[in-house]
């Protein structure tokens, strides 16, 4: 069975990238960009998570089943948050005025 042995160099590079991204996210947070702050912070966080997933957790060299499993997990989280926000974001909405709502 072929074992994918990731080299130490790759691990150190990923580590460096993660540290750099952490510093970047801290720096960007010092500036008030309004709603963009959240977008940038989340984008950086997702990037860091993907780096950890692909390289430290070996998803890059994993079976399709593993990739599908990991994807499904995050997708389900999106469902949980997204559909619940469908409630919270539309409360007190004036698109279709309904008495009492």
């Amino acid at each position: 069975m072929a074992e994918h042995v990731t080299s130490r160099k790759v691990y150190f590079l990923v580590f460096a990238a993660l540290i750099v991204l952490t510093v970047v996210t801290w720096l960007v947070a010092q500036v008030d960009l309004g709603w963009a702050n959240d977008v940038v912070a989340l984008t950086i966080a997702v990037t860091k998570a993907v780096l950890v997933l692909l390289f430290f957790m070996h998803v890059r060299t994993s079976t399709r089943m593993t990739i599908l499993t990991a994807t499904a997990g995050f997708f389900w989280l999106v469902i949980l948050i997204g559909l619940t926000l469908a409630d919270y974001l539309t409360r007190g909405s004036s698109w279709l005025p309904v008495p009492g709502k």
């Binding site: 952490t22 008030d32 997933l53 430290f56 957790m57 593993t66 499993t69 997990g73 949980l80 948050i81």
Partner: protein, 240 residues
């Protein structure tokens, strides 16, 4: 894959469990099992992230001010510490793959050390919050005792500021507390792995438990990767 008769004289790796036919089948099974468990962890923490999103959108000012009272430096150091521990964890597995028994132990010990450092720093942070009366409950006091004049001014206009801030702190403690609990469990597992690795149980042919421990540890790191900006960096741009 040929069907294997039960009464076989074939030579099997000592770590091959009886219900499996090959080591590869066993490795794929345990890896898939661990990933499925991580999916449950995603949904477990997911409920907390949902709660955070809902209340953050409802009380943005309170969340911003409450977040400001957290120690970004300590949080940042902890982030780096945890990322470092993920590096050492990955290197422990590399050591197994190249049959370097001592290396496995060294890197696992480093992981434990970094993880413990994280928890110690966390302990200091919790202590600070306790002293500042930012722990929700009967002693909670965010507005009246707050040295920051700014906050008292805002509270004059928004009488609910303190209460909404307490929701932030509740989430802070629950989310970081749950995360810390996962780290404690991870460290306990790592200690077991150190002992077994020292005894030579793992090598390039068989290191499933190390791989699975690593997956768990990296996942806990990913949770923190999201917790740090969401909890600590919210109000970093606002005047203190």
């Amino acid at each position: 894959m040929a069907s294997s008769p039960l009464a076989h004289g074939a030579h099997h790796h000592p770590a091959l469990a009886h219900q499996f036919d090959t080591m590869e089948q066993q490795k794929e099974s345990s890896t898939l099992g661990m990933w499925l468990f991580l999916v449950t962890e995603i949904m477990f923490f997911g409920g907390l992230f949902l709660t955070y999103v809902v209340y953050r959108s409802r009380f943005p000012a309170a969340f911003l001010l409450a977040s400001n009272s957290l120690n970004v430096l300590l949080g940042g150091i902890n982030t780096a510490v945890l990322i470092g521990s993920s590096l050492t964890m990955a290197l422990a597995i590399w050591a197994a793959q190249v049959n370097w028994r001592k290396g496995i132990v060294i890197f696992l010990l480093a992981t434990i050390g970094l993880g413990s450092t994280f928890l110690v720093i966390k302990g200091f942070e919790y202590h600070d919050k306790f002293v500042e009366h930012h722990v929700p409950g009967p002693n909670f006091n965010f507005v009246e005792e707050n040295p920051n004049v700014h906050i008292r001014q805002i509270a004059a206009r928004d009488p609910n500021l303190g209460r909404h801030a307490s929701i932030f702190f509740s989430l802070y403690f629950i989310m970081t507390g749950l995360h810390a609990t996962h780290m404690v469990i991870g460290i306990a597992v790592l200690i077991v792995m150190v002992v077994l690795s020292w005894k030579g149980k793992y090598d390039a042919r068989y290191y499933n438990p190390l791989e699975m421990t690593g997956l768990y540890w990296h996942f806990v790191d990913i949770v923190w990767i999201f917790l740090f900006p969401l909890l600590y960096l919210l109000g970093a741009h606002a005047a203190r």
